[in-house]
């Protein structure tokens, strides 16, 4: 579904990604971990098309299409979703109107007619229950005055509504208390299926107790330096990242 080959990217002339290789197949759950500043969120931004990043080398293919050639909205319409680490507050744009516009733009791209008001409301209600999102937040301005947890839950709710093929969760767990973490994780787990893939970027192993990954990758200094299964996350939790860094330096000096 997603193939990343030797991806290099920089921001304001500073090299951030230095040759990422990653293959994600249908239905897989990948976790990307790594110390601060390793390039985790940058990878998410590059995949979603944030324009202050410049890709200097490499390719990204999504279902056979060149993702890097597409505008951010087209990536979303093709089925890539980024749950933001810091969701943006937009006063004056109601959550409902925002979702309706997004959904209908995606449908129009696929040649589908706009949803009827009744169908839209039905879908909204269903997904709201699925991810436990309060209906009283629906008519409010997008994320305005939402608590940290409410914002993150709104990201998961949008994910449920827009139903992408690939969801990238950028530190969705940071800043959440344990109850909010449980709600967010259970929302994600309910959305898992054989067709949908996830990339979960996290700083903390804690999240992976609730969302069980198929693969864990360690990102360090702009590259994936180790790939393993969920046990790797546990090892990182116990031992930190230093042993991996040492391993890497040993390898590089050979």
């Amino acid at each position: 579904m997603l193939t990343i080959k030797n991806l290099h990217a920089e921001v304001e002339g500073k090299k951030i990604l230095k040759g990422i290789n990653l293959e994600i197949n249908k239905g897989e759950m990948h976790a990307i971990m790594g110390p601060n500043g390793s390039g985790k969120s940058s990878l998410a931004s590059v995949l979603a098309g944030r324009d202050n990043y410049t890709v200097t080398e490499g390719e990204v293919w999504f279902n056979g299409k060149n993702l890097l050639d597409m505008a951010p909205e087209d990536r979303a319409r093709e089925g890539v979703f980024l749950a933001f680490q810091y969701p943006v507050e937009i006063p004056g744009v109601s959550n409902l109107n925002f979702l309706k516009t997004a959904l209908n733009e995606i449908r129009a791209y696929k040649g589908l007619p706009a949803l009827e008001a009744r169908e839209f409301l039905k879908l909204t209600k269903e997904k709201q229950q699925l991810v436990d999102f309060h209906s009283n937040l629906m008519n409010r301005s997008l994320n305005e005055g939402f608590s940290g947890g409410e914002k993150k839950r709104n990201e998961i709710f949008q994910l449920a509504m827009l139903d992408p093929q690939l969801a990238i969760l950028d530190e969705t767990d940071s800043g959440l208390d344990i109850d909010a973490l449980r709600i967010v994780s259970s929302g994600v787990n309910k959305l898992r299926d054989a067709e949908k893939s996830f990339v979960v970027i996290t700083h903390y192993q804690r999240l992976l107790e609730y969302i069980i990954p198929d693969f864990v990758h360690v990102l360090y200094n702009g590259r994936i330096i180790k790939t393993g299964t969920k046990e790797l996350a546990l090892e990182l939790e116990e031992r930190g990242y230093d042993w991996l860094k040492e391993e890497l330096h040993l390898k590089e000096s050979v």
Binding site: P72, E73, R75, A76, F81, F84, I90, F98, T101, A102
Partner: protein
């Protein structure tokens, strides 16, 4: 500077409207004032950013004082869907009884200015507002206007539904047209009045120089909306001089939307009584080479009054915006609360805004503030919307809607609010 319509000044002004004989002295004085000061220039403090002479010289305008027959569809085109209202149609300031539904009943007087020069409200308040004296375009109107709409509500009269006035401007050749209106709400009266204007011809350009005086007496309340969404062949100087008395409320909304190339709004409110509330809301969305100048003046004469002014602008393409917010707090006007805010989105590569707050405060126990912003869309917000599949244009439309929502949200008539939101969305989608 010689303009064709100046020639009319040499004619006997009384010939314009024989029905208004009683105004001869007022008109003569206005004419004297106008000829003494002449048209504003860029050196006139109140016109520093608007070269009106350039706009007046654009075409060989002649003064037009009569109405031409206009089909009802013209006014119909400005109807606000689902709005239950009394629609009143004026052509070049002249009331069209056959196209209008006038409110009737005890205490309600609505009719042509020319037919009401003896009405008590007219005798007391016509041309009485001193703010008009310093404005030469208003003097020109006083000297040469032909007709307009007179509204007077007696004490305790509350209109059951809004009045929607459609100003039709119709001319066969380029013309300057000068309607003049006076609305008086007596003690504890209440009304909602919405204004729209339309100029159906495209070949002949109409330049309106209209003046409206509104009087909101003790404990009365006026909701006043002006929707300027004119044609490319229309130009406008629109002067509104309001006065408020004790305990009264005046809510003014001004919407300037495309495509009229030149709009200048003079809005002044004189607070002649204490404990009043004034809300001045403005939204201007301008495209192409539109020039929109809002010139406002809050005159706090008496103590314990509140005024709140919020003007927001979206400037597209090469559009040019001007905002002036003068707040004058007299020495007697203690305990004044006067707030002013002007926020702008500059979206066109050559769009531009000149904004100047002018606060003159002579009382020491007051709360006054003003603020100005000009900016572009937040990139982070744009990216957020686009990352959800919303295309750039739709995202911009959503953001403009969001930017203007505190103005449109304050509109009290749901049908009008909906209408305006639709108009804004349509402008942004094109």
């Amino acid at each position: 500077m010689i303009l064709p319509f100046y020639q009319a000044l040499t004619e006997d002004v009384t010939a314009l409207s024989p029905a208004m004989d009683s105004l001869h002295d007022i008109r003569r004085k206005a004419l004297e004032r106008f000829t003494a000061t002449g048209l504003p220039t860029l050196k006139t403090e109140a016109w520093r950013y608007t070269n009106i002479q350039r706009y007046l010289k654009e075409f060989p305008y002649e003064l037009l004082t009569t109405a031409a027959p206009v089909s009802p569809e013209v006014a119909e085109s400005k109807a606000i869907p689902e709005l239950d209202c009394y629609r009143i149609v004026l052509v070049n300031g002249h009331l069209q009884a056959d196209q209008s539904v006038l409110p009737e009943g005890k205490g309600i007087t609505v009719g042509a200015m020319s037919a009401h020069t003896a009405a008590p409200g007219f005798v007391t308040y016509f041309n009485e507002q001193h703010h008009l004296a310093g404005e030469s375009m208003a003097q020109l109107n006083t000297a040469l206007f032909a007709d307009g709409l007179y509204i007077e509500l007696a004490a305790n009269t509350v209109l059951d539904k809004p009045i929607h006035i459609v100003h039709v401007y119709s001319c066969a050749t380029h013309a300057i047209i000068q309607p003049r209106h006076l609305w008086v709400l007596n003690r504890s009266a209440a009304a909602t009045i919405i204004e729209s204007s339309v100029h159906p011809e495209t070949a002949a350009v109409a330049f309106a120089n209209s003046v409206l005086e509104t009087v909101v007496m003790e404990n009365a309340e006026l909701w006043h909306y002006n929707v300027q969404q004119g044609e490319e062949s229309f130009r406008e100087v629109h002067t509104t001089a309001a006065q408020q008395h004790k305990d009264s409320r005046y809510h003014h909304f001004n919407f300037t939307l495309p495509n009229t190339p030149f709009t200048r709004n003079n809005l002044s409110v004189a607070l002649n009584g204490s404990h009043t509330e004034t809300n001045l809301n403005g939204l201007y969305i301008a495209n192409n080479h539109q020039h929109v100048d809002n010139h406002t003046f809050m005159d706090h004469i008496m103590p314990d009054c509140n005024s709140n002014e919020l003007y927001k602008g979206v400037l597209l393409d090469n559009a040019n915006g001007v905002f002036t917010g003068k707040i004058l707090v007299h020495q007697e006007a203690q305990k004044t609360n006067a707030f002013q805010q002007n926020n702008n989105l500059l979206l066109g590569s050559k769009a531009d805004i000149n904004s100047q707050p002018q606060l003159e405060i002579y009382a020491d126990d007051v709360k006054c503030s003003h603020g100005f912003t000009a900016g572009q869309f937040s990139e982070e917000s744009m990216f957020y919307l686009r990352s959800r599949g919303i295309g750039e244009d739709a995202a911009k439309a959503l953001m403009v809607n969001a930017f203007s929502h505190d103005i449109t949200d304050a509109v009290k008539e749901p049908a009008l609010q909906h209408y305006l939101q639709e108009q804004i969305a349509e402008i942004m989608n094109n």
